[in-house]
């Protein structure tokens, strides 16, 4: 019964709003945009940064006059929800954003499982989701745009690099979930194609939150004894600390057995001691240390924004932004690129309708902090890929660049 009075209120409200708007400025047209990142629970530590960078990007766009559609300037009005690292809640919140708030687009999700829960929701409501975090591929939804690095953009390039450095033995170590499993499966096939025999490839998984890496490190030491070995790590989160500590204790270094980690970016070093990882490698489509005018501006503006966070032009109060020790990282850059690509596509389509925006997104280009990206027909980006060496400061020094690598979600297409 409460519901009816509520919807009645909602029915009356637009009238009141509309009348009040006629008196205020003409530029008050807004478009609602959903932000679906966990702000509490286990994933909050990673996902809050993405919420921050999204709000920052909305502020950037609003300051620049918003989005021009149908001869009007629309300002972005964020709708921030908290799916609380709870997967069914991700599905519920996504549906709420699409059905109740009627948002034009959703930016969100970090873990693959959250995306898997949201996928049926955006498909059945014909919504639009931008997904910004490196993932395992093997998925292509008409309603999702993956600005994230696909496996061939993050895993294959460092393996090529290692092969070029003369490495002959590969130890594939990961946390036991779908992203490491799929990545390693693809890498194994790829290494075999490159002539590495089965006996020189080891594949090991440890559970989430695993602490005891003594046995595994001992095995790695034996494996690396002959030289020419490296470790490809898809270990997640804080299990990296005991692993790298044990690794150093065993006398292994980036010299005699380098480790390439796929899940550690600058933002993770806010919680991990970087000096334990110094010298080891990372691979992303963006590093904070990149020297381009676009990146200088992005970093400078973002660091200024966190001190005084707001979204210009709309009635939205930004809370919960931590101003201390902030960095930028690849998922953050890809979130921002997603917003900009969507803006450009909406302007090109001259509409916020999902079907029209989707069509306009294909072929959309954006000159981002790490160079130009292009949205392909397969909903993945063409992006530059960088291999970086970890510095004790928690930054990466770029040691190798692969230009314009086209993201491909299905491994059978690039394993030829």
């Amino acid at each position: 019964m409460k519901k009816t009075s509520l919807s009645l209120l909602k029915k009356l409200f637009p009238v009141a709003l509309a009348t009040s708007l006629t008196f205020s400025a003409a530029a008050a047209d807004t478009v609602k945009v959903g932000v679906l990142h966990s702000l509490s629970g286990t994933m909050a530590i990673s996902e809050t940064s993405l919420k921050d960078v999204l709000l920052f990007t909305f502020d950037e766009i609003n300051k620049g006059g918003g989005i021009k559609v149908g001869g009007k300037n629309y300002l972005i009005e964020p709708v921030v929800v908290d799916p609380a690292s709870d997967w069914p809640l991700f599905a519920e919140k996504a549906e709420q954003l699409l059905v109740k708030d009627k948002v034009a687009v959703i930016f969100g999700c970090w873990t693959s499982v959250s995306r898997k829960f949201v996928l049926p929701v955006v498909e059945r409501n014909n919504g639009l989701l931008f997904y910004p975090v490196q993932y395992e591929g093997e998925e292509l939804s008409q309603n999702i745009f993956y600005t994230a690095e696909a496996v061939n953009q993050q895993a294959i390039p460092p393996v090529d690099y290692m092969l070029a450095e003369g490495k002959k033995k590969f130890y594939l170590l990961g946390s036991d979930y779908v992203y490491p499993r799929t990545t390693n499966k693809i890498l194994k096939q790829y290494l075999k194609m490159k002539g590495i025999p089965d006996s020189d490839i080891v594949e090991i998984y440890t559970p989430f939150g695993h602490q005891d890496y003594q046995t595994i490190v001992a095995a790695i030491k034996a494996f690396a004894a002959g030289g020419k070995a490296c470790v490809i790590s898809t270990l997640n989160g804080d299990t990296n600390i005991p692993f790298f500590k044990e690794f150093a204790n065993a006398g292994l270094t980036s010299e005699n057995c380098p480790v390439v980690s796929f899940s550690i970016s600058e933002d993770e070093f806010r919680g991990l001691p970087a000096k334990e990882l110094a010298g080891h490698l990372g691979c992303w489509t963006y590093f904070m240390s990149l020297k381009t005018p676009e990146n200088d501006k992005f970093v400078k503006d973002f660091l200024a924004w966190v001190k005084d966070p707001k979204v210009t032009g709309v009635d939205f109060k930004v809370t919960g932004v931590d101003p201390k020790g902030r960095v930028t990282c690849s998922p953050m850059n890809l979130s921002r690129i997603g917003v900009n690509l969507w803006k450009q596509a909406a302007e090109k389509a001259d509409s916020f309708e999902v079907d029209k925006v989707r069509a306009a997104l294909i072929g959309q280009k954006f000159k981002g902090p790490a160079g130009e990206v292009t949205m392909q027909e397969n909903h993945h980006l063409v992006n530059n890929v960088f291999i970086g060496e970890t510095l004790p400061s928690g930054q990466f020094k770029v040691i190798k660049t692969f230009n314009a690598v086209a993201g491909e979600p299905f491994s059978e297409k690039f394993l030829k």
Partner: protein, 392 residues
Amino acid sequence: MTQSFPKREFLIVGILAAIVLVVLPCLNAFTPPESAFHVSTFSLSLYGKYLTYAILALGINLLWGYTGILSLGQCLFFSLGGYALGMHLMLMIGRLGQYKADIPDFMVFLEFPAKYPETGGLPPHWIPFKSFWFAALMVVVVPAVVAYIFGWLAFRSRIKGVYFSILSQALTYAACLMFFRNDFTFGGNNGLTDFKTILGYDINSPGVKRALYLCSGGLLLLTYLFCRWLTSTKYGLIQRAIRDSENRVLFSGYATANFKLFVFVLAAIISGVGGALFVPQVSAINPSEMTPAKSLEAVVWVAVGGRGNMLGPIIGAVGINAFKSYATHAFAEQWPYIIGFLFIFVTLFMPKGIIGLPEQFRTIKRRIQQRNKSVDTPAESAVATTSEGVAK
């Protein structure tokens, strides 16, 4: 007082049941979407989810509120029921998955066809789940068997109180870790998701959503009536006696372990059925439903609603989850503080939960009145309060 209580309770239940089972679905089905009275399919499905949580809460209440067994692992049975039906739904996807294969997607990328070549990649224990009725049977059987084995070991060894709580928590955590493993053949961390059809109907169509909602509501009502009946029988009396003083019951010649085992298995079945209805409405299940935190949360619903009473847990489960849905949207940043404060407040100041509030107020009122009228004859004031209480 005790005589008139059930009548009033059944009146309340009747009204609630009419709203849940008749009014809301009708508003969803027969009003146009632009009407102010329209209930969207999304809302209905969301309420359906709360109702399945309420079924789980009833199971916990039967255990905790009536028998004094605090199990912190009830979500394990909820998930097992969910997985049983989820497996069937997963197999019904057929070739509509990403790989257009006969087996579920995760089996393709885990290379099951190479592991189980004789069945085309399907692990042998998945095969019978092609039948809906087998899956439906397993929804009841699997939680019951797990509960029976665990309960038999625990109660036979006279494990009770906090030790039982810890063990039950360990059980669900162990299961959670096991299900997380991809080798365990239940989809690992991603779990089971992206279902397409149920009994041949499109699982996302409004009609099926409404039917699932009605099933949840109907099952909740049946569970409620069953629990209400069970606790009013002689068996229920023994149940409460065990809660209040197990040793006395034991020395009176009752095998309390068997009684406890029975109620533990029963609660597991109730939870399993709740889980089986949860999965098609949420469209997914994953091992995080088995984390101890989830089971703790469910216990909190019961505590907030009011245990030892059949309506309280329903109010707690629906109320808290509805509030959570609202608050994670309206106060995305602050909601954990609000809900945390609420939990602390309830535990400290409302020992009987929301359902116990009127009684709590009556007691406070009586105390104040007695203090004021201490000069008057005590008999008179007592009559006055009761009549006032009834009038309310």
